[in-house]
């Protein structure tokens, strides 16, 4: 890019107790440039942008923004100077309307200038970001919520827009729409700092990339001239071996779900409607879908946290288990790895070895007649830590002291090493770095090869295409019939994930038509 850079960072260093988050980082973003910030989890990307946005202060080093020294002490100051940020975790209020949410995100003065409602509509039509100011945010899809965040940023006319992993929750179609908006913004002179670890997207969108590893700058490049593999290797600093899916012919049906309907008990939850699926031994069924389309509810039903109406609605190896609780199901050889790591899959304040007792207590003889065997539990925990290369000070560390990705590895290891007949995992590699994700994928494949039936609920299509033998889409609480992975494309999945109501209705009608004779 020609001309003076809009943002320049020089020798930025930031340390937290015990960790160097950023060390001597320097780079610059040009005017109208879409600049990617690449790196694995814990590489220091988030800390870096938090400093640009005024949430944190650098220990040393300096920044200039539009030619002036720049050291925002709080986000509102950064916003005033022209920096906008769309967070990975949205700052939205579900029980308030879109209009109220946007008003809250602006300063009192900004909210008062002109008719805010009209300005929202203007900005949203100009950039093709359709939002209805009077809808409750809780009723919106994740993609729509993101649009609100973007509209909110655009209302204060930023010169630099920071986006933290914006596409991790979008369907492929929504991603395309977002990219058009971003390209348009860039062409109008707004610079974009884009954080992601989806390399194909970065290659399609960004004209420059800065790569961080372990808090240090390791290089910059033009992502359009790189391959996804070369970018990934730059990020992890090692060569990457992708696992290969070579599963034998599937065997008998192990897990079967029939016509399962269940009302959600959450405020803005999704009701499951007539969910039917069957998974054979040696198969990995991937369930794709945008977050908030019934995945949580499906997971609850499969784990047994909420019993089914009829016991026959879920069957394990032909036995009805629809009304069995989680412990009974585990005793029968099922294992589960729910999405929420802290508080659901693991107890934050307990040590790792204690956490093994929670799910592997019976299967691995860690407790006998109500008495804990610390020796066995410690041994089991150590095996998990060794096999999955979990980075931790030891199995006596509390679960909450582990980084998200490391804890995820530990939890996946704990479940997989019980050698279950059926494993159900939600977002198995969410927030896990590329190397660890490959490890988890490899052991999932091993498990299937040994004859287990595996169900993976994930929003990461790359992941599903890598390991699933069949993929099925969940949208609005309805599960589309599964298809072999080889016959699917990202586009066809994306259409179903978008929850195009007509198609869902059509599919439901077709189901009913088939189901009806059976009732007669």
């Amino acid at each position: 890019m020609t001309g003076t850079p809009i943002l320049e960072l020089r020798n930025i260093t930031k340390t937290f107790p015990g960790v160097v988050a950023n060390e001597d980082v320097s780079f610059s973003v040009g005017r109208g440039e879409i600049h990617a910030l690449l790196g694995e989890n814990g590489a220091g990307k988030s800390t870096l942008v938090k400093m640009i946005y005024g949430i944190q202060k650098p220990d040393s080093g300096e920044m200039t923004f539009m030619g002036e020294a720049f050291a925002p002490s709080k986000p509102s100051e950064a916003r005033q100077k022209g920096v906008g940020m769309v967070f990975q975790h949205f700052c939205l209020f579900e029980a308030l309307t879109v209009y109220e949410n946007i008003a809250l995100g602006l300063s009192a003065a900004e909210a008062k200038t002109g008719d805010l409602r009209q300005r929202i509509i203007d900005v949203s039509t100009t950039y093709g970001l359709k939002v209805d100011p009077d809808r409750l945010v809780g009723t919106l899809s994740v993609g729509e919520r993101q649009r609100i965040e973007i509209v909110r940023c655009l209302l204060s006319e930023p010169k630099l827009l920071i986006m933290d992993e914006p596409t991790s929750v979008l369907t492929p179609q929504e991603v395309n729409v977002l990219f058009e908006t971003l390209r348009r913004l860039a062409s109008e002179g707004c610079s974009i700092l884009y954080i992601s670890h989806k390399l194909e997207e970065i290659r399609a969108l960004c004209s420059k990339a800065t790569v961080l590893r372990g808090g240090k700058l390791v290089g910059s490049c033009d992502p359009r001239r790189e391959t996804a593999k070369s970018l990934a290797e730059m990020m992890i600093g090692a060569t990457l071996n992708r696992p290969v899916r070579d599963l034998p012919e599937p065997g008998e049906i192990r897990l079967k779900v029939q016509e399962l309907s269940m009302e959600s008990d959450e405020q803005f939850g999704v009701d499951l409607e007539n969910v039917t699926m069957a998974v054979r031994a040696g198969e990995i069924l991937g369930i794709a879908g945008v977050a908030g389309n019934g995945q949580t509810e499906l997971m609850e039903a499969l784990i047994g946290e909420r019993p089914c109406r009829f016991s026959r609605q879920i069957q394990l190896d032909g036995a009805d288990i629809g009304q069995a609780g989680p412990r009974e199901r585990r005793a029968l050889g099922m294992c589960f790895a729910p999405e929420e790591r802290l508080g659901h899959a693991a107890v934050p304040g307990m040590a790792l070895w204690e956490n093994t007792l929670l799910s592997a207590g019976r299967t691995n003889d860690l407790a006998r007649r109500g008495l804990i065997s610390p020796t066995n539990a410690n041994r089991f925990a150590l095996r998990v830590v060794d096999d999955l290369k979990v980075k931790t000070a030891g199995v006596k560390s509390a679960a909450r002291s582990l980084s998200g990705g490391n804890l995820q590895k530990f939890i996946m290891g704990r479940e997989i090493m019980q050698r279950p007949k059926v494993l159900i995992a939600s977002q198995p590699t969410w927030g896990v770095d590329a190397g660890a994700a490959a490890t988890i994928h490899r052991i999932l494949l091993d498990l299937a090869r040994e004859g287990a039936a595996v169900v993976i609920i994930s929003q990461d299509l790359d992941e599903l295409f890598t390991i699933s033998t069949r993929i099925s889409v969940i949208a609005g609480g309805y599960l589309f019939p599964s298809q072999p992975t080889g016959e699917l494309t990202v586009e066809s999945l994306g259409l179903a994930m978008g929850g195009r109501s007509k198609e869902i209705e059509a599919a439901k009608r077709a189901d009913e038509a088939v189901a009806e004779p059976a009732h007669v």
Binding site: S76, C91, L96, A108, G138
Partner: protein, 306 residues
Amino acid sequence: MDLVLNILLGVVVAATPLVFASIGELVAEKSGVLNLGVEGMMIIGAVAAFAATVGSGSYIVGILVGALAGATMAFLFGALTLTLMSNQVACGLALTLFGLGLSALIGQAYSGISLPQFPRVDIPLLTDIPFIGPLVFGQDALVYLSFALVAGVGWFLTRTRAGLILRAVGENHEAAHGIGYPVVAIRYLAVMFGGACAGLGGAYLSLVQTPLWVEKMSAGRGWIALALVVFASWRPLRALGGAYLFGGITILQLHSQALGLKIDAQILSMLPYLATIVVLVVISRDRMKMKLNAPSCLGKVFYATS
């Protein structure tokens, strides 16, 4: 006619303390703080107002001191739960126990003293209208204040930016913090407003309703106020309605006791509590609406991260 008028006037007197206490708690809860210490703040308000009135001879001083005492109690609660991040339920219960004990201690010197009747508003001509006059234009100033408060809080919560921010803090404190609102400071203000209101409710008990100081005179009204807020699904007008329902049945059962009904007095005394809760449960049985109005962060401790 006189009996009906007396009953209706009695209802207003019985309902007003609840209106104050519940509207205050409503604001605190909308900001996401569950303060179970309403009973304690009320009783402290009652004894403080009574003592100040006896000491100064001025009702105005008494009322202000009552509100201030309630707010001070609430500040204590805020310091424990917002600054020190203790459990809100436990601290609220402790606040109630503390308030009951402390008020009994302070009140020892004041038992047996009675105050003259609290002045009522008297507008020439208007108050003289039969029936409607005394009912509408002849109440005491605090009754009008309670109505103004309900209207004011309703307007504040739905129509003002500050009210929107308060609701936002109660709905999702992480997000509010992320945008840059001072979550803890806003909660302090809301909790102290709630305390001041509870104090006013207490002052009304000891200055207007009885007007005496009696130990434990709040008699569970703080708890009823708490229940009102939940079952009114955090809407000011409904809380007002609930308070008047409670007041109405309280007075009716007193009169029916006087009439010598053959029902045990204990059962009759139970009625207002029971009926109010039953009616409000029935009104608020739409779970979806209930959840929509309920502040999502109610009772959750807020840790400011980053």
